[in-house]
Amino acid sequence: MAAQTQFSGGLENAPVDAAHAFRAAMTVMARPGDIRVLSGSEPPAPLSVAAGTLLLTLCDPETRVHLAGGIDTAAIRNWLTFHTGAPLVSAAKADFAVGTWDALGPLNAYRIGTPEYPDRSATLIVECDRLEQSGAILSGPGIKKTARLSLPGIPALQGNAMLYPLGCDFFFTCGNRVAALPRSTQITSEA
């Protein structure tokens, strides 16, 4: 019984659940500032439903995952390994990193891609206490005029955008909701 509860909470109908989850992830990445519901998995605390589902949708033995700070528990390690088989690595090697903003930082620890292969960069999944369409003003690809999103650490994210076309890409998760910030988005802090 213990084993069953330890490893339960995966996607119930993987092909369909993952298709829905990816559609939400793709929509928010294509439209920075949009917030979508992302659910399907029940990961061990303190990992959010959205972050857990995102990991199950995108990670497998080919992706290296970094668990930062309070997310790096034995229960989450076991759960993630059981469901995805993703190798757990340090920040510098990660394709995906999960944690709170404070635990993930500083950003210069992560891969930003190379000039010839800017896609070989890390995607950071940032667990947030709140996720709202307020605060920082976003503009750029995917945004009609401007959008707003409650971003943590605006100066660091502005620095990341300046590396374009290199840089990291971000998902922000809160409960069962997700938003995203690709490197192409220009950020102005609230006036």
């Binding site: 990816f22 990445m29 076309p165 490197r183």
Partner: protein, 286 residues
């Protein structure tokens, strides 16, 4: 349908394609390498587009497939049947009703909406390939934003023909950074590349995926004194009378008679249903 995993591909393949799509959206116009799979159709028949569609579809989607604007040509019919069988999704010929549109070489005439996704089938994703055959070199050219060669090509068009003669696969610059091949759409469609829908591009044989998010700046390359022109045959459609749509020329007989018809069959049909008539409409109906 039960004999297949949802949308044909296995889950690990879909994850790999999905990761490439996300990076593509984050770097608009940049070609992300991906491990293209063999599909049950030959290369050149849309294997890239099919893989991108398979990774994007959900069971609730309504799929439309067009080939040169037409819903009823071999390629479009067989891809639509493929997804009816392997994903069990609804299909339609109406642009309005579709949530995912896979296309070969056209953008529908109807304006696409926020909630739609268009997937392009791409034969040669590298716009610089015919100017520089080495992948190592073109990759370096993109990384250095060295696009002078492309402008030389357009300049040579002008010096030889008096105008830019490139009529399809007309190169564009996305978001002020990457020069991108919009797939072999006629240059008439280039202005539509700035749209509300998400645009995904899949090249199966060449193993590349790229993307253009909604509302992204897409500029067709040109010169101040030879500005870009979205051209079409100077005719109205002979069936529906539309003057704003891209036309196909059809040879009617050995005497050289010909007609012009909308390349977008759904657009033409919906206009005829609304009572619009072109030069040959009645004859054709009889």
């Amino acid at each position: 349908m039960s004999a297949y995993n949802f949308a044909y591909l296995d889950e690990q393949t879909k994850r790999m394609i999905r990761r490439a799509i996300l990076k593509g959206l984050a770097i608009p116009g940049y070609q992300v390498p991906f491990a293209s799979r063999e599909m049950p159709m030959p290369y050149g028949w849309g294997t890239g587009g099919v893989q991108v569609s398979a990774a994007t579809l959900t069971p609730e989607d309504t799929l439309k497939v067009i080939d040169q604007g037409a819903d009823d040509t071999t390629n479009a019919v067989s891809i639509r049947k493929f997804f009816e069988k392997t994903a069990g999704v609804e299909t339609t010929e109406e642009t309005e009703k579709a949530t995912v549109i896979q296309t070969r070489h056209r953008i529908p005439e109807a304006k696409l909406r926020e909630d739609q996704i268009i997937v392009y089938q791409v034969p040669i994703p590298e716009p610089l390939r015919f100017l520089e055959p080495r992948e190592t070199e073109t990759r370096k050219m993109h990384s250095l934003e060295e696009y002078g060669l492309m402008h030389v090509k357009l300049y040579e068009d002008i010096s030889q023909h008096g105008a830019i003669s490139t009529a399809y696969a007309y190169p564009v610059k996305v978001c002020g950074r990457y020069v991108m091949d919009p797939s072999p759409i006629p240059k008439f469609d280039n202005p539509k590349l700035e749209m509300d829908a998400i645009q995904l591009f899949g090249a199966g044989r060449e193993q590349r995926i790229y993307a253009v998010p909604p509302h992204t700046r897409v500029v067709s390359l040109d010169f101040e004194d030879y500005p870009f022109e979205a051209t079409k045959a100077d005719h109205p459609c002979d069936l529906c009378g539309a003057e704003d749509s891209y036309l196909d020329e059809v040879i009617m007989d050995d005497a050289g008679n010909r007609m012009f018809v909308c390349s977008d069959t759904d657009y033409c049909r919906s206009r005829r249903e609304a009572g619009h008539m072109g030069r040959l409409a009645e004859e054709n109906a009889a």
